[in-house]
């Protein structure tokens, strides 16, 4: 059952990733990314990380995708990326580069993981994550808030109308 669920979700994730990459239309790409993020959230559920699945849907599919779709609507007028590609030769090089990286990663996964313990019952709910987040990783947590503040100030500065 879990096996079949994983296979379906994995196929969906890879298919939506390919759709994102191969479609030239940016808004289609953003919608494919929503599918991909949703399938990754489902993958978190099969891994027993319910809290992260919720965070994934709220933050990624909610906040980030709205930002992306908004930016695409504002910035890309209709059909771009349809004209003749001036650097088509160079861009075709991305295919062997991507295939080579995939091959290397798969080889590393095959060779380098070592003996794997059977799936242990690790708690993935809010309580387990919060307990660790607010004790051992408290300093990184606080630094994250500083980072978000810095990003917010930076965005306001960048998006401001001309001085």
């Amino acid at each position: 059952m879990t096996h079949a669920a994983f296979l379906v979700i994995a196929a969906l994730a890879v298919a939506s990733a390919l759709g994102l990459v191969l479609r030239r239309n940016a808004i289609h790409g953003a919608l494919f990314l929503v599918v991909n993020l949703g399938s990754v959230a489902a993958l978190y559920l099969t891994l027993g990380a319910e809290f992260l699945a919720a965070v994934q849907v709220i933050v990624y599919a909610g906040a980030i995708m709205v930002l992306f779709v908004f930016a695409i609507m504002v910035l890309i007028p209709g059909k771009e990326e349809t004209g003749l590609d001036p650097r088509r030769g160079w861009r075709l090089l991305a295919l062997p580069v991507g295939a080579l990286l995939a091959l290397q990663l798969l080889l590393v996964v095959r060779a380098g993981v070592g003996p794997v313990a059977p799936a242990a019952a690790v708690p993935g709910g809010v309580e387990a994550v919060a307990r660790l987040l607010f004790t051992r990783y408290l300093l990184p947590f606080e630094l994250t808030s500083v980072l978000l503040l810095a990003a917010m100030v930076g965005v306001l500065l960048l998006a401001r109308r001309r001085v």
Binding site: A17, L47, G48, V55, L67, A71, A102, V108
Partner: protein
């Protein structure tokens, strides 16, 4: 499902994301590819957290997600700022720094 399944899936998604980053012609498409790659990393973190029985992987995933939010916000703001000056978001035309 074994750890290998998850790692293989993450490797495939990461490579597809790299391909997207290299082939996209507008800056927003490149950012979409980067999102894909970051998601592959998150899959790895959660899978290792599960199979090594260590909640720290889940905490790290939270950190990557929050950093991704900051990255996307700043990235899109930069793209908008560039668009105001150059009236385009095509990466090939943004060659002010080319020698």
């Amino acid at each position: 499902m074994s750890l290998y399944g998850y790692l293989t899936l993450a490797a495939l998604v990461f490579a597809i994301g790299l391909f997207g980053v290299l082939t996209r012609r507008n800056a927003i498409g490149i950012l979409l590819g980067i999102e894909l790659m970051l998601n592959a990393v998150n899959i790895n973190l959660v899978a290792f957290a599960r199979f090594r029985a260590d909640v720290a992987g889940l905490v790290f995933t939270l950190f990557t997600i929050s950093i991704t939010v900051a990255e996307v916000a700043v990235g899109l703001a930069i793209v908008i700022a560039i668009f105001r000056v150059r009236r385009t978001v095509e990466a090939d035309r943004l060659d002010l720094l080319r020698g």
